[in-house]
Amino acid sequence: MAKELENPESADHGSALIPADPIKDPGLPPHHTRVTDIHPSKERHASRVVATWFWISMIMSIFATVAYFVWPIKHGDLGTVRLSTTLLGVAVGLALLSIGLGAAYWAKHLMVDTELVDERHPTSSDEETREIAAEYMHLGNVESGFTRRKLIRNSLIGALALSPLPAVVMLRDLAPADDPNVLLKQTMWKQGERLARDPSGTPIKASDVTLGSAFHVIPQSLNKLHGAEMLNEKAKAIVLLMRLKPEDLKELPERKGWSYDGIVAYSKVCTHVGCPVALYEQQTHHLLCPCHQSTFDVTEHCKVIFGPAARPLPQLPIAIDSEGYLVAQSDFLEPVGPSFWERER
């Protein structure tokens, strides 16, 4: 009943070549005896080595336990944290390692090490079993009429196919009822919202922004929010503020009024996958995203000059209020951050 494994008749060997005139397999080499098999003194030595490893392990476990109490953590003292961590780690590590080394040494030098040979059998079950299995499947079909009674079978398939539907639908309330596509298109910025320093929230006067400087900016009212609400708004509203020489800015005519005296504000959320575009190179007027190195040219409305991003950073139109503070003229006029399917809709 057992199939021959290598017999080309029973299994197709495809394009494999069966040697016609092979050199004979010389068979298993003779077993090599170890010194520990022959010399009782070596054997005794080996067993002492094994026991020593296990003793080291015991000592280390006890040492770790003692160290836990003897070298505790003193609040606010990082040195004690480091000491406790190292002592515990090294002691527990050595305790475990020694068990392993002892066991390995035991297996290698003392346990009987003759190589044994087992036969392999084909993975498949034998013909008889297969026949019986096929017969049972057949009976299952005939006795239930699964293929014969098409109406109930197909109705069952339909019922099973629909049954996970509620499970999928019930995932809807993982998030609030709002339409995410609407949320993604608005931020906290609105007309008259003051530009403020991140994270303190102190508003910025146009006169504070010296030539060549850059500010990390949040809406002034952001700090009135807390927790997740604050983070969600901040994730969309962060802005970079820079002052360039007005003649360096190559502004589009329709955006002429969006800057103030060479001061421009752009979204700090990368249009690639959303990291904060945090690095400003004053000399070149380039903004660099540290995540995947997309680079934006501030002089040309932050168009992409390098890296995987596709779109320029959105610009926030700014002006100054009566007290000389920088304010937004409105919200961003396009969605900030990474692209999404319905972005242009």
Binding site: D12, G14, S15, A16, P19, A20, D21, P22, I23, K24, D25, P26, G27, H31, D37, I73, G76, V81, T85, L88, V90, V92, G93, L94, L96, L97, G102, A104, A107, M111, D113, L116, D118, R120, L174, A175, P180, H216, H226, N232, K234, A235, H272, G274, L279, C291, H292, Q293, V304, F306, P308, A310, P338, S339, F340, W341, E342, R343, E344, R345
Partner: protein
């Protein structure tokens, strides 16, 4: 002492273990299992330990993970940090971050266990990767082990998921930025992207749900699936019996090695302690993921040169390698090809990895079971393909550090990126050619050794004045190993099918078969060996 100590000495221990064994057996019939598996043979080779490292680091992860759950608070509710790390005292942060700091600074051994957990996760991913490579290069994925290959592949993917979800839990600046990237990556998907992100984060990014959700994935769903798959993986290993490397006396129909009881149990059991002990030493000595240096998540700050955990690197590298401006709008919808192309490329790469056993089986048409491993040089084309795959992965991985490479070697970032973009496609081709040529050269050398023995380095002058090198005869066992008759294939002949037609698939298969096997180095036959022996001048055969 003696090699045949099978007769157990009867003693107290023996009586006790008999009693215990029969108590358990009376109630469970466990004897059947012990009889079946107790003396099952396992072959020994260092490369078989890679899978064990993966398994044992996973167990270490489970044990340390349980400890961490006792102290970690998976909540994004905002609290004021009141622990003993002074630089962050009084700061607003999520409870998750605060409890991570408490584990690190206020709980004895907490930092150690956190670091051991993290190191073990890095090792788990590395060991899985190396294990997959071992299985690939030796052809251990062939029938009957294709399903186990798929399971191993799923484990590779799940290890990434486990790593990433865990990495995100502390809610620190670094993990938050990682999530930000995932969020943007998901949003690029047509139709569903925005919705998946919205539902995953429980609203807008970052929201206050994600840590709780990732927590149940990380400590329940993902490990449960991993455990289940590991279970099936090991059951199949037992069922198939382990593969073995070719050697004298080793055939497709036998398995040579040492029994589970006692040798393999001692070695594998001991190895668990070696792996976990090693990881504890790492965790005790080397700092990893110091979240207190990054601070709590805030969408605004980020530091240059931050790196994801190593196993996520290749995905991040793909994101970086896409050229600018790959996005277009059609019918009002945005196609973010700069990200979609990453889905496509990574998907194709993973798909090819997962399906490789079936592709190769189709090309060879070989339906036999294979339990003898290939020496990588004997399967030269497969080895070349593997080298190409490794190169592809490696370039993507290196690309995740393109900025560090540029600053470290004082190169321009543009230059490094363009170089890596080209290398991503050219590199695999070169690795394929080089690896395949090396494998074939080694085969040729083996053939020479089989025929003429190994080079001795001695040069002698023959009577005729001719100089030749003396070759030492090799022993039969080594010769047999070098022969490897079992890994010898030839290209298909393109023949019409029963209807007398040559269809597209036949043509493709024949072409692929030629690509695989046309550079074939014929193994030495007995008559060839006899002829070579005959040719040898007597003084050459004596060696020195």
């Amino acid at each position: 002492m003696s090699q045949t100590t099978v007769e157990p000495e009867r003693g107290k221990l023996d009586r006790f273990s008999r009693a215990a064994a029969s108590y358990v057996d009376d109630r469970t019939k466990i004897g059947v299992l012990v009889k079946e598996f107790g003396r099952k043979i396992f072959p020994d080779h260092w490369s078989f330990m890679l899978g064990e490292i993966a398994l044992f680091s996973f167990i270490t992860i489970l044990i340390t993970g349980v400890f961490l759950t006792l102290f970690f608070d998976p909540s994004m509710a905002h609290v004021e940090y009141e622990g003993s790390y002074l630089p962050l005292k009084g700061m607003e942060m999520s409870a998750a971050m605060a409890s991570t700091l408490d584990i690190s600074f206020d709980i004895r051994g907490g930092l150690l266990i956190r670091q051991v957990h993290h190191w073990a996760a890095l090792l788990f991913n590395a060991a899985i990767g190396l294990h997959i490579l071992r299985v690939f290069f030796t052809g251990a994925f062939r029938k009957p082990r294709e399903i186990n290959w798929i399971i191993g592949f799923l484990l590779f993917v799940l290890a990434l998921v486990a790593g990433f979800t865990g990495y995100s839990l502390p809610d620190d600046l670094l993990s938050g930025n990682g999530l930000r990237i995932i969020d943007g990556f998901i949003k690029a998907l047509p139709f569903v992207g925005v919705w998946i992100s919205y539902l995953l984060f429980g609203g807008e990014f970052p929201g206050d749900d994600l840590v709780g959700r990732f927590y149940s994935l990380h400590i329940l769903v993902v490990p449960a699936v991993i455990l289940l798959l590991i279970g099936i993986h090991l059951v199949l290993v037992f069922l198939h019996k382990h593969t073995q490397y070719p050697g004298p006396g080793k055939t497709e129909k036998n398995i040579v090695g040492q029994p589970i009881l006692p040798v393999y149990a001692a070695k594998a059991g001991g190895f668990f302690f070696i792996v976990s002990g090693f990881v504890f030493l790492l965790g005790g000595i080397f700092q990893i993921n110091p979240v207190w240096n990054y601070g709590p998540y805030d969408p605004s700050p980020i530091s240059a040169g931050t790196q994801p955990d190593w196993y996520m690197g290749w995905t991040d590298g793909f994101l970086r390698l896409v050229p600018s401006h790959w996005e277009f709008v059609l019918w009002g919808y945005t196609f973010s090809m700069n990200l979609l192309v990453v889905y496509i490329v990574a998907g194709i790469f993973l798909g090819l990895v997962a399906l490789y056993p079936f592709i190769e089986a189709w090309i060879t048409g070989d339906k036999r079971e294979h339990h003898l491993l290939d020496r990588p040089r004997k399967a030269a084309t497969r080895t070349g393909i593997g080298a190409a795959g490794v190169m592809f992965y490696a370039v993507a991985w290196a690309a995740a550090s393109s900025d560090l490479i540029a600053t470290h070697f004082h190169l321009s970032l543009e230059g490094v990126t363009i170089f890596l973009q080209i290398l991503l496609f050219v590199g695999p081709v070169f690795s394929f050619i080089i690896a395949k040529r090396i494998a074939l050269a080694l085969q040729k050398k083996d053939r020479e050794i089989v025929l003429h023995g190994s080079e001795s380095g001695y040069i002698v002058r023959l009577e005729g004045g001719e100089y030749v090198e003396v070759h030492n005869p090799i022993d039969d066992g080594l010769r047999w190993k070098l022969l490897s008759y079992h890994s010898d294939y030839e290209p298909w002949m393109l023949r019409p099918n029963a209807k007398g037609k040559i269809g597209f698939w036949r043509r493709t298969r024949a072409a692929l078969s030629r690509f695989y096997f046309e550079d074939r180095i014929e193994p030495v036959s007995q008559s060839e060996l006899d002829a070579a022996r005959h040719d040898h001048k007597p003084e050459l055969n004596t060696g020195h």
